[in-house]
């Protein structure tokens, strides 16, 4: 589904990502772990198409199509979703109106009619229930005054509504207490199928107890330096990242 080949990318001519190779197939869950400043969030932003990042070498394909030059909205229309570490506040636009706009803009891009209002309402209700989201919450302004946990839950709600093929969760566990973490992880697991994939970006192993990865990759200095199975995550939790650095030397 997603193939990243020898990817170098960064800001203002300075590459943060230094030759990433990664393949994510449908039905898989991958975790990217790594210390602060290793390039985890950059990788997420580059895949989602943030314009300020420049790809200097390599390419990204999604379902066998090169997406390196596509706008963020075009990538979203193809089924890539990024759950933000710091979701942006949009006063005056309710959660419901925002998600309606996102869904219908995506449908429009695919040449489809707007989703009928009744179907939309039914879907909103269903997904909100699944994530234990209160109805009142949906009429609040998007992310405005939301707690850290509410913001993350709202991100997963958007993911549930947009039904992406590839969901990238960027530090979704930060700012969540254990109960909220379980609800969010549970939501992600329910959305999981053999046709979609999840890329979890995290600093800690904690989230991976609930969203169990098939593969774990360690990112350091813009490179994937080690890959393994979920056991690697436990090892990192226990021993930190220094031993990998030593191994590399």
């Amino acid at each position: 589904m997603l193939k990243i080949k020898d990817l170098y990318a960064g800001l203002e001519g300075k590459d943060i990502l230094q030759g990433i190779n990664l393949e994510v197939k449908a039905g898989e869950v991958h975790a990217i772990m790594g210390p602060n400043g290793s390039g985890k969030s950059t990788l997420a932003s580059v895949v989602a198409g943030k314009e300020e990042y420049e790809v200097s070498r390599g390419y990204i394909t999604f379902e066998n199509q090169d997406i390196s030059e596509l706008d963020p909205e075009e990538r979203a229309h193809k089924g890539i979703f990024l759950s933000f570490q710091y979701p942006v506040e949009i006063p005056g636009v309710s959660v419901t109106n925002f998600i309606k706009t996102a869904i219908n803009e995506t449908r429009k891009a695919k040449g489809k009619e707007d989703m009928p209002a009744s179907e939309m309402l039914k879907m909103i209700k269903e997904k909100a229930d699944m994530l234990e989201i209160d109805r009142k919450f949906l009429s609040r302004s998007l992310n405005e005054g939301f707690s850290g946990g509410e913001k993350k839950r709202n991100e997963i709600f958007q993911m549930a509504m947009l039904e992406p093929k590839l969901a990238i969760l960027d530090e979704t566990d930060s700012g969540l207490d254990i109960d909220a973490l379980k609800v969010v992880a549970n939501g992600v697991n329910k959305l999981k199928s053999k046709d979609n994939a999840v890329l979890v970006i995290t600093h800690y192993q904690r989230l991976l107890d609930y969203i169990v990865p098939d593969f774990v990759h360690v990112l350091m200095n813009g490179k994937i330096v080690k890959s393994g199975t979920k056991e690697l995550a436990y090892e990192l939790e226990e021993k930190g990242y220094d031993w990998i650095k030593e191994e590399l030397v």
């Binding site: 989602a48 979203a76 979701p87 942006v88 006063p91 005056g92 309606k100 706009t101 996102a102 302004s141």
Partner: protein
């Protein structure tokens, strides 16, 4: 002949028809003298540094229109807040139109300045209030000298007006260029409540210049909620001079929505004369092309324990120009004043300009005054967030513009008006989203 000379000779002709023995005649004569002395303001004056009237003074304006003016309701209905019942004072080329208006004398007066000036029963009110808060700058004086028609609204004490009052000034374009000078007097009695919507609308692409003066008097505990909708044609210019006198415990709010017109200058002046006054001045300005809008606000804190809140948001596209000049004066006796001023601007294109100038003159020592002024561009992170959800660049920008303006919009108290303004904004920023903006 310069426009100034033309106006001065028109005044001499006007004098023949005037009430010679009325005290108003002296007021007019004094006013025309001020105008004759000062003339139109130029960029040399500090308050007009960023706005030039030069190009506006060139056309050969008709000062009075004698031509047939036929305005059909079906053509102008969209300019009224027709979803709800309202009182209406409609003027066409400066002349009252009874067909389109809905006035009243039933427990309150919503009628015409011309009748208030001529009928003896209004004499005490005119003598007590007319030209009593208006400044004697040249443009206000010019309007005062020529005072003829406009809205006269008198709300007696304890009256809560049950529906909004609309003041609408149409210009038909029957004259090649038209100069209009509406004069409004609004007196809101003790503990009375009123909501007013004011609009100037040109119905053609002929040039129009309006020099409007509105005086508002809020007696103690009165509540005045005033909305100015400025969405005129690109050939229409407006100089709006509004003066609000607040007695103790009054709440006065003015929202200005500046979306259209060629050049607009808003001189908005609040005078807090009694304790515990609350003044709100808010505005959304969205401009494009070569539009120029200048907000010149004054909040004069004269009495202690008062508050003022200013929040102006501006979005400037193409080569449009915005000016915000916000002055707050806190007099020595105005202790415990709480004055707040905020002015945020987004420049959408490289050629757009904003001149922002907050001015605080504080003579009291125990006050809370703050101001914030920002000029920026769209937040790239916010744009990326919206686009990553599948929303296109144009629509994402529109959502951000809407979010930016929202602090002003959310305090609009008439729901139907809010919907209208949402639509105007959506129209102005050229998007149609899945929900109503």
């Amino acid at each position: 002949m310069s426009f100034k000379d033309k106006l001065l000779s028109s005044y001499i002709a006007l004098e023949d028809y005037l009430e010679f023995d009325s005290p108003l005649h002296d007021v007019r004569n004094n006013a025309i003298k001020i105008f004759e002395e000062k003339g139109f303001p130029t960029k040399k004056e500090e308050a007009w540094k960023y706005t030039s009237l030069n190009s506006l003074l060139k056309p050969d304006y008709s000062v009075y229109s004698n031509k047939e003016r036929n305005v059909e309701l079906k053509n102008v209905r969209k300019y009224f807040l027709h979803e709800i019942d309202t009182y209406k004072l409609v003027f066409v080329d400066g002349v009252y139109n009874s067909f389109l208006s809905e006035t009243t004398h039933d427990s309150l007066d919503v009628c015409l300045m011309s009748s208030a000036l001529n009928k003896s029963k209004y004499k005490p009110v005119i003598e007590a209030y007319f030209n009593k808060v208006a400044k004697s700058d040249s443009l206000t004086a010019l309007n005062t000298a020529f005072t003829k028609e406009g809205a006269y609204i008198h709300i007696p004490a304890h009256k809560e007006v049950e529906k909004p009052i609309e003041i609408i000034n149409f210009s038909t374009g029957n004259e090649a260029a038209m100069f209009l000078q509406p004069r409004n007097l609004i007196v809101v009695g003790e503990n009375a409540h009123v909501q007013i919507i004011e609009r100037h609308q040109s119905l053609s692409s002929n040039e129009v210049l309006t020099n409007s003066v509105t005086e508002i008097f809020a007696e103690k505990r009165a509540y005045v909620d005033y909305y100015k909708i400025q969405n005129d044609e690109a050939t229409a210019s407006l100089i709006d001079n509004t003066y609000i006198s607040q007695e103790r415990d009054t709440v006065c709010r003015v929202h200005t929505f500046a979306f259209g017109g060629n050049l607009v200058r808003n001189n908005l002046n609040f005078y807090q004369k009694g304790e515990h006054c609350d003044s709100t001045l808010k505005g959304i300005t969205i401009l494009e092309g070569k539009q120029h809008v200048d907000h010149n606000t004054l909040v004069h804190h004269i009495a202690p324990n008062c508050e003022s809140h200013q929040d102006y948001k501006g979005l400037f596209a193409e080569s449009s120009i915005g000016v915000f000049n916000g002055k707050i004066i806190v007099e020595k006796d105005a202790q415990k004043t709480d004055a707040f001023q905020q002015n945020n601007n987004i420049l959408i294109d490289d050629k757009a300009t904003i001149n922002a100038k907050p001015q605080l003159e504080i003579f009291a020592d125990d006050v809370k005054c703050s101001h914030g002024c920002t000029i920026g561009q769209f937040d790239e992170d916010a744009l990326f967030y919206l686009r990553s959800r599948g929303i296109g660049l144009k629509e994402s920008r529109a959502l951000l513009m809407y979010a930016f303006a929202n602090t002003v919009l959310e305090s609009v108290k008439i729901p139907e008006l809010k919907v209208r303004i949402n639509k105007l904004i959506a129209n102005k920023i050229g998007v149609s989203l899945g929900f109503e903006l």
